[in-house]
C-alpha cells in the first residue's frame, strides 16, 4: 500500500460510495469513521518505515506516479495527515447534529482527499489545479438543490478561479528568477503574480468580501467547513513556496508586504466583526481575522514560523466546527441569523449559545480557550519585531471581543421571568459539549498538541531553521 493511495484515493472513493449508496443517517457515521481510521493510521504507522507485526512486515511506501506526475507523502507528513483527517472526522461526526444534507460527508471526504493531493503533488505547482478542483466541489455543498447560487458563492468561485492562472504563471516566472536572481523586474513581476494568486486564494484584503456573503446566504456548517479547509491547505501550500525559493524567504520587502496584508486582514476583520448585526457574517469576519493571523505568522522573520503557523491551524478547525455547529442549530429554529431574530435564544438553547460564544471568544484570543496559546506565541514573536504590528493585531482581536460581547448581549436579552429550557437534542449537546471541552483543553494544556506538531518543521527543508 502506498501513502497517496491510502490518504488520497481511499477517502475519495469512500466519498463517492457514500454519495451513491448511503442514506442520510448512516453517512456521517461511516464518513467520520473513515476519517478517524485514516487519522489513526497516520499517527501510528510511519510512512516509508517497515513495521513488524508478529511475522508480518508492513510498510507504507511514500509515492506513486500518476499520468507522469508524482504524488509523495513522506514520514514528516504523518502528523499533518493525522491532524487533517482527525479534524475532518470531527466535522463529519457533527453533520447529523447540524442537520446538514448527507452529501456534505461524501463531498467533504472528496474535498479533503483532493486537498491532501495538493500537498503531495510534484511538481508542486499542480497544487493550484487541485485547489481549484476542491473549490468547485464546494459549490454543490454551498448551494441547496434546486436553488440559484447566491452572489457570495459566485464571487467565491470567480476569485478561486482567478487565483489559479496567477499561481501557475508565477511558478513559471519563478523558475526564471532562480536562473537570474539579479533581474529585479522579473523578480518584482513574479512576486506580484504570486502575491495576487495567494490574495485570491486566501481572500486577502480587499478580496475577502465573498466570505461574509457566503456565511450569510449558505448553510453555516458548510460555510464553516469551507473556511477551515481551504485556508488550511492554502497556507501549507504557501509555506511550501516560501521553503522552496530562497529569494522569497530572505526578501525583507516581501516579508513586510505579507505582514502588512496580514495586519490589514486582522484589523479590518476585527473592526467589521464588531459592527455586524448578523451572527453568521460575524463568523465570516472572525475567520478573515484569523486568516490574517496566519498571514502575519508566515511573514515573521523568525525561526518559529512553522511552529506558530501550525499552533494556529489546529485550534482553528475546532473553533470553526463548534461555532458552525452552534449556528446551524440556532438557524434551524430562527428565521435568519440576524440579531433581531435570535434575541433571547440563550434561554431556549443554552448549550448552543454557550458553545457559540466560547468559540467566538476563543477566536478573539481569550485566555483559557484554544485560540489563546497560539495568539500569545504570535504576539511574542511580533513584539520583538514591531510594536505597531502587535498593536494592530491586538486591536483586531479587540474587535472580535466586541463582536462576541454584542452577540452575547443579544442572545441573553429575554423577557422577564422566562424559564431556562434545553431544546437541543442529546446528539447536539454531546457534540457541542465535546467541542467545548476541546476548546478548554487546548487553551489550558496546549502541550497536548506537541506530539502532532513537534515534527512538522521537518516538512520544510529551510523554513524555521
Amino acid at each position: 500500500m502506498s501513502a497517496p493511495i491510502l490518504w488520497i484515493v481511499v477517502p475519495f472513493i469512500a466519498g463517492v460510495l457514500i454519495l451513491l449508496f448511503l442514506r442520510e443517517r448512516t453517512s456521517p457515521l461511516i464518513g467520520g469513521t473513515v476519517a478517524t481510521l485514516l487519522a489513526f493510521i497516520a499517527l501510528l504507522f510511519p510512512i516509508d518505515t517497515a513495521l513488524l507485526l508478529g511475522s508480518v512486515s508492513i510498510k507504507i511506501s511514500p509515492s506513486i506516479e500518476f499520468f507522469g506526475r508524482s504524488f509523495a507523502l513522506t514520514t514528516a507528513d504523518g502528523p499533518l495527515l493525522a491532524i487533517i483527517y482527525g479534524l475532518s472526522a470531527l466535522w463529519f461526526f457533527g453533520t447529523e447534529a447540524s442537520g446538514t444534507a448527507n452529501r456534505f460527508v461524501s463531498l467533504g471526504l472528496m474535498i479533503v482527499a483532493l486537498l491532501t493531493a495538493s500537498i503531495a503533488v510534484e511538481p508542486f505547482l499542480f497544487a493550484a489545479l487541485l485547489l481549484e478542483m476542491a473549490a468547485m466541489l464546494v459549490i454543490p455543498l454551498l448551494v441547496p438543490t434546486y436553488q440559484k447560487p447566491g452572489r457570495g458563492v459566485i464571487r467565491f468561485l470567480i476569485y478561486q478561479t482567478l487565483a489559479m492562472p496567477f499561481i501557475l504563471f508565477s511558478g513559471w516566472m519563478l523558475a526564471g528568477v532562480e536562473a537570474s536572481p539579479g533581474d529585479i523586474n522579473t523578480t518584482l513581476q513574479a512576486g506580484t503574480m504570486l502575491g495576487l494568486g495567494f490574495a485570491f486564494l486566501l481572500g486577502i484584503f480587499p478580496l475577502y468580501n465573498w466570505i461574509p456573503m457566503v456565511t450569510e446566504e449558505s448553510p453555516p456548517y458548510v460555510a464553516g467547513f469551507l473556511l477551515w479547509v481551504l485556508p488550511t491547505f492554502t497556507i501549507i501550500f504557501g509555506l511550501g513556496f516560501l521553503d522552496r525559493y530562497t529569494w522569497l524567504r530572505t526578501s525583507p520587502q516581501l516579508s513586510s508586504a505579507i505582514q502588512l496584508a496580514g495586519i490589514f486582514m486582522v484589523a479590518s476583520g476585527g473592526v467589521f466583526a464588531s459592527l455586524q448585526k448578523h451572527i453568521g457574517r460575524m463568523m465570516g469576519y472572525a475567520a478573515i481575522a484569523e486568516t490574517g493571523l496566519f498571514v502575519l505568522a508566515i511573514g515573521l522573520r523568525s525561526t518559529e514560523i512553522v511552529n506558530v503557523t501550525f499552533l494556529l491551524l489546529i485550534p482553528r478547525g475546532l473553533e470553526l466546527a463548534v461555532w458552525a455547529l452552534a449556528l446551524s442549530i440556532i438557524k434551524r429554529k430562527a428565521y435568519s441569523l440576524k440579531f433581531s431574530e435570535v434575541k433571547g435564544f440563550a434561554r431556549s438553547y443554552p448549550i448552543a449559545t454557550s458553545a457559540l460564544i466560547l468559540a467566538h471568544l476563543s477566536m478573539a484570543g481569550l485566555p483559557l480557550l484554544a485560540g489563546f496559546p497560539a495568539r500569545l506565541a504570535l504576539w511574542q514573536e511580533l513584539a520583538s519585531q514591531s510594536l505597531v504590528l502587535s498593536f494592530w493585531a491586538l486591536f483586531g482581536m479587540l474587535g472580535l471581543l466586541i463582536g462576541a460581547t454584542r452577540t452575547m448581549a443579544v442572545l441573553v436579552m429575554v423577557e422577564e421571568d422566562k424559564a431556562w429550557e434545553l431544546k437541543e437534542s442529546w446528539m447536539q449537546m454531546t457534540m457541542l459539549g465535546l467541542g467545548v471541552i476541546g476548546l478548554f483543553l487546548l487553551g489550558m494544556f496546549p502541550q497536548i498538541l506537541q506530539p502532532f506538531i513537534k515534527d512538522l518543521p521537518s516538512l520544510f527543508e529551510h523554513l524555521g531553521r
Binding site: 481569550l366 423577557e415 422577564e416
Partner: protein, 516 residues
C-alpha cells in the same frame, strides 16, 4: 505543592457537595462537607508559613522555544495575606450560610468553594501568563453565574458589559507584556520593563472600576449576601494582586500624577457614595470602588505592601459586614474592629498602607479614607433591617457568629504576624488625622442633611456623568456602524468586484512603492 493542596481541598469539597446533592438530599451532611473542606483549606494556608517562600510550577507549555515561562504560583509575604483572606472569607460564608434563605442550595456552596480555590490561585499567580489564565477563569465563572441568576434584560446587559470591561483588563495586561517583550524583557513580573508598569496599573484599575471610574457590578443582582459577596470580593482581590508586581522604576513616568489624581477621585467618589448608601449591600459596589482606589493609590505611591493591605481590608472587613445579616447587638459592635483595621493606625491591618510618597495628594487621601471608615461605622451600627436566628437550630446559633468572628480575628492577627506588612508603625500622624475626621463625620452624619443616606431607588449603578461619556462612545460606535454598512454595500453589491479590483490595484501600488 502546599498551594496545590489548599486549592485541591476546596475543589474536592465542591465536587463532594455536587456528589452529595445527586446521591443524598440531607442538607446537614452537605453543609458539614462544605464547612469541613473550607476549614481544612484554611488550616492548610496557615501551614504555608512553615515553608514560605515557595513555588508551585505547572507543566510548561510546548514548544519550549515559544513559551518560556510555565504557569507558576508563589506563596510569599505578599501573596499569603490575600490567600488567607480569601480562604477565611470562603469558610465564613459557609458558616454564616445557616442564616440565609439559600441554605437549601448546596450548589451555591459548591460554587463558592470552587471560587475560593480559583481566588487563591489568582492571588498566588507569579507571572502574567498564570494571572491571565486565572483572571479568565474568574471572569467566565462570574459571567455564567450572573447570567443564570439574572432575571431581566437590563441585568443581563450589565453582566455582559461587566464581563467586557474585565476582558479589556486582560487585554491591557497582555499589552503590558507585549510592550515589555518589545523592550527586550521577558514575560514575567520580575524582569518586566519599566515602560509596562503603568499599563499594569491601568489593567488592574480597569478591572476594579477605578480607571476610568465605572461600576462594573450591578447592585441589583439576585446573588446578594453569600455567593455574591464572595464573587465581588475575590474578583477585586485577584485584580489588586497585580498592583504588587509593578516595578518601582515605572512609577517615575509623567503620567503617574494623573493616574494618582484619577484614582483618588475614584476613592472620594466611592467613599462619598458608600457613606450615603441606604444599606451595605446597595453600597457594596462603592465599597469595592473606594477600597480598590485606595489600593491603586498605594501602588502608585510606590508602596505595593499598601496595595496588599487595602486588598485584605476589602475582603476581610467588607466580608464581615456584608455577611452580617442577623440582628445581634454585640456582634454589630464587634464589627467595629473593622474600623480599626481600616484606620491605618500602628499595628492595624492597614498600618503599612501609606508608606509610599503621596506628596500633594495626602489631604485627599485622608478625606477618602475617612469617608469610607465613617460609612463602614454607619452600616455596621445600623439598627434594623436584619434577619434573626430565632427559628434556627442550636448548631446554627453557634455557627453563624463563628463565621463573622473568624473574619474579625484574622483582621487583628494580620496586623501582627505572617506577612511583610505586619507589625508596622506606618504613617501614624496621618492615621490619627483620619481617625479624628472619621469621628467628626460619624457625629455629623445624622445632623447634616447632605450626609444623610439617599433612598435606595435613587442609587443608580451608573453615575450620570459617566453615563454621558459612555453614550458618547456609543454614538461614535453607531457612526462606525453606518460607515461599515456603506462599505459592505459597496463591496458586496453589483459593482462589488470592480470596486474590489480597484482597491486591490491601489493596495498593490502602495506596496510596490515601498520596494527599492
Amino acid at each position: 505543592m502546599l498551594i496545590f493542596i489548599s486549592c485541591l481541598l476546596l475543589f474536592i469539597s465542591a465536587l463532594a457537595l455536587i456528589v452529595l446533592r445527586v446521591t443524598q438530599q440531607n442538607i446537614r451532611y452537605s453543609w458539614l462537607a462544605a464547612v469541613g473542606g473550607a476549614a481544612l483549606a484554611t488550616v492548610s494556608v496557615f501551614v504555608w508559613q512553615t515553608q514560605m517562600p515557595f513555588d508551585f510550577v505547572l507543566p510548561s507549555w510546548k514548544p519550549d522555544t515559544l513559551f518560556l515561562n510555565p504557569p507558576l504560583f508563589r506563596a510569599d509575604g505578599v501573596s499569603w495575606p490575600l490567600a488567607l483572606s480569601i480562604v477565611v472569607l470562603t469558610l465564613s460564608i459557609m458558616l454564616t450560610s445557616v442564616a440565609r434563605p439559600s441554605i437549601a442550595n448546596s450548589l451555591n456552596w459548591a460554587g463558592g468553594l470552587a471560587l475560593g480555590g480559583i481566588g487563591i490561585m489568582a492571588v498566588t499567580a507569579d507571572n502574567p501568563l498564570t494571572l491571565l489564565l486565572v483572571w479568565a477563569a474568574l471572569d467566565m465563572t462570574e459571567l455564567i453565574t450572573q447570567l443564570i441568576f439574572a432575571d431581566n434584560s437590563t441585568n443581563n446587559e450589565k453582566v455582559v458589559t461587566s464581563f467586557f470591561t474585565r476582558a479589556l483588563g486582560i487585554g491591557l495586561l497582555l499589552w503590558a507584556n507585549i510592550v515589555s517583550i518589545a523592550q527586550g524583557s521577558s514575560f514575567d513580573f520580575q524582569t518586566i520593563a519599566p515602560g509596562s508598569g503603568l499599563y499594569l496599573v491601568i489593567a488592574a484599575g480597569l478591572r476594579l472600576g477605578v480607571l476610568p471610574l465605572h461600576l462594573p457590578y450591578s447592585s441589583e443582582s439576585t446573588l446578594r449576601r453569600g455567593f455574591g459577596t464572595l464573587l465581588r470580593l475575590i474578583s477585586a482581590a485577584s485584580s489588586i494582586v497585580l498592583l504588587t508586581h509593578i516595578p518601582a522604576s515605572s512609577l517615575n513616568s509623567g503620567l503617574t500624577p494623573y493616574l494618582l489624581g484619577f484614582s483618588i477621585m475614584a476613592a472620594l467618589y466611592g467613599g462619598w457614595m458608600w457613606l450615603r448608601a441606604p444599606d451595605e449591600l446597595t453600597g457594596r459596589p462603592y465599597w469595592v470602588i473606594g477600597l480598590a482606589a485606595l489600593s491603586v493609590t498605594a501602588a502608585l505611591s510606590g508602596n505595593p505592601l499598601g496595595a496588599v493591605a487595602w486588598g485584605c481590608a476589602l475582603v476581610l472587613v467588607g466580608g464581615a459586614l456584608f455577611l452580617a445579616s442577623v440582628q445581634q447587638v454585640w456582634l454589630n459592635r464587634a464589627l467595629l474592629i473593622g474600623a480599626w483595621s481600616l484606620s491605618s493606625l500602628p499595628f492595624s491591618l492597614t498600618a503599612s498602607a501609606w508608606l509610599g510618597n503621596l506628596g500633594f495628594f495626602i489631604p485627599f487621601v485622608i478625606a477618602a479614607q475617612s469617608l469610607i471608615i465613617a460609612g463602614f461605622i454607619r452600616h455596621a451600627l445600623r439598627p434594623s433591617g436584619r434577619d434573626t436566628l430565632d427559628s434556627q437550630p442550636r448548631w446554627a446559633l453557634a455557627a453563624y457568629p463563628t463565621g463573622i468572628i473568624l473574619l474579625l480575628v484574622i483582621q487583628l492577627v494580620l496586623g501582627f504576624i505572617g506577612w511583610d506588612g505586619a507589625l508596622q508603625i506606618g504613617a501614624w500622624v496621618q492615621a490619627i488625622i483620619v481617625s479624628l475626621l472619621t469621628f467628626g463625620l460619624v457625629w455629623a452624619t445624622p445632623r447634616f442633611r447632605i450626609l444623610n443616606p439617599i433612598r435606595a431607588h435613587w442609587v443608580n449603578t451608573t453615575a450620570s456623568r459617566t453615563d454621558s461619556i459612555y453614550s458618547g462612545v456609543w454614538t461614535l460606535y453607531r457612526v462606525f456602524g453606518r460607515i461599515s454598512k456603506t462599505i459592505n454595500i459597496t463591496l458586496e453589491g453589483e459593482g462589488g468586484i470592480m470596486w474590489t479590483l480597484l482597491f486591490l490595484v491601489i493596495f498593490v501600488s502602495l506596496l510596490t512603492q515601498g520596494l527599492p
